[in-house]
């Protein structure tokens, strides 16, 4: 459908920052954190990581899926600039819901590649688990920093806003198929049994959790093996027990996002300008090779599959790369099935065989085909807009060999991040460590 042109000039990621993903109101030390504090922390950490001063940064992008819900803001970009030393600089807010953090890279890369700016910040923040107090409605006056828990009931009511009001909500199927459509598609097109899909869904949860268990920024670090032992069950018994109930036609509770609060950011710079701008550069720059994108509104059959196929096709056509060139893969798996279907569509896992790789544990951080080494949305957590940039934080740290206890076996050079969300935007972001 679309053909990508080459960037006007090379763009590289030179620094990243990320908060822990957390339930802020549940802990005294984080209860009351505000948007400026969260976004500001991630932004300053990214600048420090890049070795740049806020004055070196020309412009910033601010992503947040639901600023009215999360911070009672309509223009959140304007409200936070002075928290990270960019008062008075130009900025823009954008929301593509759960795909925001991936398209945050798209926006920043385009701005630098065009020549308009040499160095930009792109960040995102979300309060997925809490809302300004009182949480009664968005219209009532809010306390300056106190927050209330975001109930699942309120969250699900507001997720209805992701879907077309005129037809899709009325027709019912579009918004309900998000949970199981990809699983049904995979079972039917690959010829596996529902039982094999059940095992695959469980193993994606197990692998994600193993990855999170060695990641200090992850929200849930208890392995399923330890939870099964506590419950006096085998791992298989536990994963198929009421501890992990069936919530969808295929999907179990463990395969659903852990919605939470968090922020993440990255600094992107024109590669040719790095010696001039980032005088304290600490890492090898990571070049943005290209970003494919597609969006299928939820009444479109197999929206995730179709949009992923198109986004991946675009970026491979641009770069001449294929799945065989990827060393690392990230998928926004707030519905965990995404993890399997997108890795196969991208050719990172072989057609019809991906489920076996997953069930054999080969996609965990220490396997030969690592996916979501940070723990993914079901274990790292899902601070909606911020998740994509949290994945970029993890991918860059892996490419730089800085992941410590969960560093993948062979230092990767090339990674794809498959963004997904907002019923439904898809991005296929391809990055590679720049040759010395």
């Amino acid at each position: 459908m679309g053909t990508l042109g080459k960037y006007g000039r090379s763009v590289s990621i030179i620094g990243v920052g990320c908060t822990p993903f957390m339930y802020t109101v549940d802990h005294e030390e984080t209860n009351g954190l505000t948007e400026g504090e969260m976004f500001g922390y991630a932004a300053l950490k990214a600048m420090e990581d890049a070795g740049v001063n806020p004055r070196d940064v020309d412009f910033y992008f601010h992503g947040e899926a639901s600023p009215l819900n999360g911070s009672n803001y309509l223009t959140p970009n304007v409200q936070v600039a002075n928290w990270f030393g960019m008062k008075g600089k130009g900025s823009i807010h954008h929301s593509e819901a759960c795909c925001t953090g991936y398209l945050a890279i798209e926006q920043a890369a385009n701005a630098v590649a065009s020549g308009k700016y040499d160095c930009v910040l792109t960040g995102a923040v979300e309060f997925g688990d809490s809302t300004p107090s009182p949480a009664d409605s968005v219209e009532t006056p809010k306390h300056p920093y106190k927050r209330d828990k975001m109930t699942m009931e309120k969250f699900l009511k507001t997720t209805a806003w992701l879907y077309d009001r005129t037809y899709t909500r009325s027709l019912m199927a579009g918004q309900e198929l998000i949970y199981d459509d990809a699983a049904e598609w995979y079972v039917r097109t690959r010829g596996i049994t529902p039982e094999q899909m059940n095992d695959t869904l469980n193993w994606m949860c197990i692998n994600n959790r193993r990855n999170a268990s060695v990641n200090p920024l992850a929200i849930e670090r208890r392995t399923y093996e330890s939870l099964a032992k506590e419950a006096g069950m085998t791992l298989d018994e536990y994963m198929n027990s009421p501890y992990n109930p069936r919530m969808g036609d295929f999907l179990r509770a463990g395969g659903i996002e852990l919605k939470c609060d968090g922020a993440a950011a990255a600094i992107l710079c024109a590669t040719e300008k790095i010696p001039e701008i980032a005088k304290k550069l600490a890492h090898t720059p990571i070049e943005v090779l290209g970003i494919g994108s597609a969006a299928c509104e939820a009444s479109t059959p197999h929206f995730e599959v179709r949009a992923t196929q198109e986004a991946v096709r675009q970026v491979y056509e641009l770069t001449g790369l294929s799945g065989e060139d990827l060393d690392l893969f990230y998928a926004n798996d707030f519905i965990i099935t995404s993890h399997l279907v997108s890795a196969e569509i991208a050719g990172y896992l072989p057609y019809g065989e991906g489920w076996k790789y997953i069930c054999d544990g080969r996609t965990a951080w220490d396997g030969d085909k690592p996916i979501n080494t940070n723990g993914g949305r079901t274990s790292f957590g899902h601070a909606h807009a911020a998740s994509g940039l949290a994945d970029m934080y993890e991918a860059c740290k892996q490419l730089w060999g800085e992941c410590g206890e969960h560093q993948v076996k062979h230092t990767p050079k090339t990674a794809m991040l498959r963004g997904y969300g907002g019923a439904q935007n898809v991005a296929a972001v391809l990055i590679r460590t720049l040759e010395a």
Binding site: Y167, S170, E184, M247, G248, D249, P301
Partner: protein
């Protein structure tokens, strides 16, 4: 013809009140947009014309409702599934198809695609919408 600012959505729902299923047909390539919108998404024509669809369709996939994917209101649908529906005119979209349950799902899945036809369903909120019924109930 010319590009018109018109109430397409209201006319679609008023059509349902009268038992009519209105889409829009592209005069350039013949593609039918359903539910109706201004432009043609197949060839890019700016304009489409009102067109009453036949209501005959095929179901290509079956996903059963579950705790996450159901609402109390849906009980009025009886046994149903979600899936990819293809109208006789070629248009494909996600829809509700009645007549599918846990009991007959495996048998029906083997027979995909299944013939079905359009029907009207009354939603809470005082408006009607579109669902489909299987031609043959197993």
């Amino acid at each position: 013809m010319s590009i018109k600012l018109e109430k397409v959505v209201e006319k679609f729902y008023q059509g349902l009140e009268e038992g009519k299923f209105l889409g829009r047909k592209c005069p350039q390539c013949g593609n039918v947009e359903f539910p109706p919108v201004y432009a043609c998404n197949a060839c890019g024509s700016y304009e489409t014309e009102w067109y009453e669809i036949s209501g005959r369709a095929k179901l290509h996939s079956i996903v059963l409702p579950a705790a996450l994917s159901s609402k109390p209101e849906y009980k009025k649908l009886g046994k149903f599934a979600y899936g990819e529906v293809e109208l006789e005119e070629g248009t494909r979209f996600n829809a509700v198809v009645r007549g599918i349950s846990k009991k007959n799902r495996a048998e029906l899945t083997k027979k995909l695609p299944l013939d079905c036809h359009i029907a009207v369903f009354e939603r809470e909120g005082g408006y009607k919408t579109v669902v489909f019924d299987l031609d043959e109930i197993n």
